[in-house]
């Protein structure tokens, strides 16, 4: 349980030099003489302020919120929004300029993995060093030692100095120690973005385990919105040091995505000089055409979509093909569809691909077009050429949470009564019900 009350954090900008010493002396003298006010006291508003040649930055400004016991709370925001500063204040690394944080329970923070590792010492020593730095007792580490070693898979190298480890091993060991912390309140910065895909999956799994344990409170910063959606019950969106939105994770994440949403259905270039392309080809136009009965309606999950594009082929006798790749706004690839290939002469080539309705899930997406020569060599990649949103649509379904899955296809799927007859052999009821 943590109560964050009106927390602000100010940083002085600029270099520290003789000016700093003079100002420190001045401040000290004033304090001694009991004079007020301090001419160097922090100013009141705006993000960056100049004050007598001094520049200040409010990294956090009047942040207030509560985190309940057992709650997993995600913090999102762009770079420089104050996420890390907030975690630093919460984990007592730096003091707030104003406000207070009250709490109950033992806090451990994981702002970096491998904190305190000594390159010259063995993996075994470093497990103990890192563990005790993160606030574990010696007995606790001893108890979990085997588990940590197994998790990181470094048995053979336990007595090798960690400087000889591969970077993957190093990261696994470092995370292994961190993953076995058992505080009441855990503060985690973007530490999951390390290692290979398989290891990241392992980390996410571990985080999920930890978050589901009873009474464990977690504050979690991540750029991975899927992770926030998955792990957190609540999310906070920080912007320029203030809370922009707070609430249930799904809705905050959606708002966050919405703010950066771009709607771009058509692009056309009249002048080949400005058109994207290279010595192989020049794009003329790309267009997304939704098959909507009424053009003012938004695209929803039922809407078939057609992508049309034209480009100028600059070479004769060339084998060309194109891949149309769909990405979700979080950067996950949804599909990659290759076109037919063929020999082409110099001139305009057009392409068209239709994505049927009732296939995509709701969300924000973008298309990229990849052009290939001889079906193998990439000659041009036109990234993020079209942006669009797909709205949700549900009929006769009493389920209101986010529909999971990268896609939401309608495959024939039926349930019917299964009748057991006397001889023990089941037969299908010819009068089956289709659901």
């Amino acid at each position: 349980m943590i109560k964050i009350d009106n927390v602000s954090k100010m940083y002085r900008l600029g270099t520290i030099g003789s000016g700093t010493f003079k100002r420190d002396l001045n401040k000290w003298l004033r304090a001694c003489l009991g004079k007020k006010p301090d001419p160097f006291a922090p100013p009141d508003d705006s993000n960056i302020k100049k004050n007598g040649g001094e520049r200040y930055l409010w990294a956090l400004r009047n942040i207030s919120f509560d985190v309940k016991e057992g709650e997993v709370c995600g913090i999102i925001g762009r770079n420089g929004a104050g996420k890390s500063t907030l975690l630093k204040v919460l984990s007592r690394i730096t003091r707030p300029t104003e406000g207070s944080i009250k709490g109950r329970g033992k806090i451990s923070s994981l702002l970096e993995i491998g904190t305190g590792f000594h390159a010259d010492l063995s993996g075994r020593e470093n497990i103990y060093i890192s563990g005790s730095m993160l606030g574990m007792k010696k007995a606790e580490i001893k108890k979990k030692f085997d588990e940590i070693v197994e998790f990181s898979g470094i048995e053979q190298f336990l007595d090798t100095p960690v400087k000889r480890y591969s970077s993957g091993m190093y990261v696994r060991l470092a995370f292994g120690v961190a993953a076995h912390l058992e505080p009441d309140i855990l503060i985690v910065d973007e530490v999951l973005a390390v290692g290979d895909a398989e290891f990241q999956k392992k980390c996410m799994g571990k985080m999920k385990d930890v978050s589901q344990q009873k009474g464990r409170t977690i504050l979690f910063v991540s750029h991975n919105l899927q992770a926030i959606n998955n792990l957190c019950s609540r999310a906070i969106w920080l912007q320029k040091g203030t809370i922009h939105a707070i609430g249930d994770a799904q809705s905050v994440v959606n708002k966050y995505l919405g703010a950066f949403q771009k709607k771009l259905w058509k692009r056309e270039w009249m002048n080949p000089q400005e058109a994207p392309g290279n010595e192989w080809l020049k794009i003329i136009s790309v267009e997304l055409i939704p098959h909507l009965p009424n053009p003012t309606e938004p695209i929803d999950i039922r809407t078939p979509l057609t992508v049309k594009f034209k480009f100028y082929n600059l070479n004769d006798q060339i084998h060309l093909s194109t891949n149309l790749v769909l990405f979700s706004l979080t950067g996950d690839c949804i599909f990659d569809v290759p076109s037919t290939g063929g020999e082409f002469k110099k001139g305009v080539i057009e392409g068209e691909c239709t994505i049927p309705g009732k296939f995509l899930n709701d969300g924000s997406y973008y298309f990229s077009l990849y052009f290939l020569k001889d079906s193998s060599r990439s000659i041009f990649e036109y990234e993020e050429c079209l942006h669009f949103d797909v709205e949700d649509f549900r009929e006769n379904i009493h389920w209101y949470d986010k529909w999971v899955g990268a896609v939401r296809p309608h495959f024939p799927f039926m349930l019917r009564n299964y009748n057991v007859v006397n001889n023990g052999v089941g037969v299908l009821n010819p009068h089956h019900n289709m659901l």
Binding site: T97, S100, G103, S109, L111, L121, E125, K138
Partner: protein
């Protein structure tokens, strides 16, 4: 309202305390303290051929050089004490001071990485330095006792066992001076890097105006006050008096040295506690 207040176990705000964290919280971090001592000890001898033997080798080599330079070449008197014992005593005690002072003074500058990422009472770091230096000192003192035993039994040199006990307060005072001044310098170097160069100069200056390689008795009377300005000086005379039976001191000189030590230790501790949690923003 009373209940509301009782529910919170901790609070973080902009106020920092002169007294720092409670002893109970400090005790909670004792495993970390010993782990840091172990880490420093192990890491300083990684990839060395002689490993921990350096703890003994370093004073031995220094003693040999001192005998050559001060005893043979310059011909400084050792007050009838075998030069080996004379220099060894001084060098052990000086190492204790310089170890603590130097390593404490870089508390913040060397640990920025860690201090930026994890919280623990910062005082743990200077404390671990003191423990490790004390450990090295004890090992070096063993060497001194071994040498004393050799001279006592084989060479028939008189060793005053009765005053040995006096060495304990001396060791504590010298460690205190190192810790107190080290903590002050750790804050100063964190704020202004100019002090980094200064620590070396101060250390060298202190070494010269301190009776480590020469007895107080050979200093001309008119200049003795300069040597006595250094609160360490009288401690070296006392140390040799307790272990070897030779040294000159007066009660007011001892009182001065202890008073300075108290000021340094208390002042250092208070200032360290008050500023430690805020320094991270300026390192």
């Amino acid at each position: 309202m009373v209940e509301e207040k009782l529910r919170w176990e901790w609070e973080i705000n902009k106020k920092t305390s002169w007294l720092g964290v409670s002893l109970r919280e400090l005790f909670h971090y004792k495993d970390l303290l010993f782990r840091l001592v172990r880490k420093e000890f192990l890491s300083s001898y990684q990839q060395t051929l002689l490993g921990p033997f350096w703890v003994l080798l370093q004073p031995m080599l220094t003693v040999l050089t001192s005998i050559l330079i001060f005893h043979r070449v310059i011909g400084v008197s050792t007050q009838g004490i075998p030069p080996l014992l004379y220099y060894l005593a001084g060098i052990c005690l000086w190492n204790l001071f310089s170890d603590i002072f130097l390593n404490t003074s870089v508390t913040f500058t060397q640990n920025v990485q860690v201090f930026n990422k994890v919280y623990f009472p910062r005082i743990i770091v200077p404390l671990s330095v003191v423990l490790l230096s004390a450990l090295r000192f004890v090992i070096q003192l063993m060497l001194f006792f071994a040498a004393s035993a050799y001279y006592y039994f084989a060479m028939d040199v008189a060793i005053p066992l009765s005053t040995y006990i006096l060495a304990i307060p001396v060791i504590i005072t010298v460690a205190g001076i190192g810790l107190g001044s080290g903590m002050l310098f750790s804050i100063l170097t964190a704020k202004y890097r100019d002090f980094m160069g200064l620590t070396q100069i101060i250390l060298r200056l202190m070494m010269f105006i301190c009776p480590i390689f020469y007895p107080m008795s050979i200093v001309p009377g008119k200049l003795q006050w300069i040597i006595h300005l250094n609160p360490l000086s009288i401690q070296f005379e006392l140390f040799r008096y307790s272990l070897l039976g030779k040294g000159q001191f007066t009660p007011d000189q001892v009182a001065y040295s202890i008073a300075i030590t108290l000021v340094l230790v208390i002042g250092g501790l208070l200032w360290f506690n008050k500023t430690a949690d805020r320094l991270i923003d300026v390192i």
